[in-house]
Amino acid sequence: MIPIAHVIALSAVLFAIGALGVLVRRNLVVMLMSIELMLNAANLAFIGFARHHGDETGHVFVLMVIVVAAAEVAVGLGILIALFRNRASVDVEDASLLKW
């Protein structure tokens, strides 16, 4: 049996890499991918604890997270295309109209 601590450690590493991607990259596409990575890290923690407790509720929550991720990608890429049409760029530094 895989120790729960190792699953959580892998989940933490993936979440941190995703957070790093959102913080240091400027390309909006890669930032969206990093958000997907963070959602996946959360999924991994759900699956690990579901295995640990022998309870499938975690699997159901993972399905919900997948649906939310799909919706988020659809809307995020729609915003991305609208932004590219107006600014001819997907750099977040170019979308600073509302920035204080």
């Binding site: 993936l14 240091v24 799909a70």
Partner: protein, 172 residues
């Protein structure tokens, strides 16, 4: 055996994730690194006896979502981009250092805790654990309301994406 497979899949997932974040040459390579990460995570899910979710992981993430990313990257024909210029670099280095420190703390905590620190461990799983029968039964009985709510969410996201990405009449 399954422990070593877990380490192998985990290593592939972490390398793919790093490749996605650190690759500044082109976004398509980032998306392909993300595919490697997603497929490896699907393998980890199977090792953790979440068979149905593992299959969905590969189908939905590695299949649909990353294809959407690649499609948009190729549609927009993106130029290469780099890390921020030196002016904005200090804040991002600080952010990266904070994330790294938090990560080191979390991983250290997770690996030094004794195995009994998480109560409720079950060695014997019920028959058919993680299969579509049991997950589907839970989804359509206890969590039916949440399931219906996700259908509303998907519908509104679909309408929103179409409206956002639609070319306005006249002003291109």
């Amino acid at each position: 055996m399954s422990l070593w497979l877990f380490y192998a899949f985990g290593a592939v997932a972490v390398i793919g994730a790093l490749g996605m974040v650190l690759n500044v040459r082109n976004a398509v390579a980032s998306a392909l690194c993300l595919v490697a990460t997603m497929v490896a995570l699907g393998g980890v899910h199977v090792l953790l006896e979440a068979y149905f979710v593992g299959a969905l992981q590969v189908l939905v993430y590695a299949g649909a979502i990353v294809v959407l990313f690649v499609f948009v990257v190729m549609l927009l024909n993106l130029r290469r981009d780099g890390f921020p210029p030196a002016r904005a670099r200090l804040g991002r280095v600080t952010a990266a250092a904070v994330v790294g420190a938090a990560l080191a703390g979390l991983v250290g905590l997770a690996l030094t805790l004794p195995e009994t620190a998480v109560p409720g461990a079950t060695a014997a799983l019920p028959e058919g654990f993680g299969g579509y029968r049991r997950v589907g039964a839970a989804l359509f009985t206890d969590y039916l309301l949440a399931f219906e709510a996700t259908s509303l969410l998907l519908l509104s996201a679909m309408v929103g994406a179409v409206v956002l990405a639609k070319r306005r009449g006249g002003d291109a």
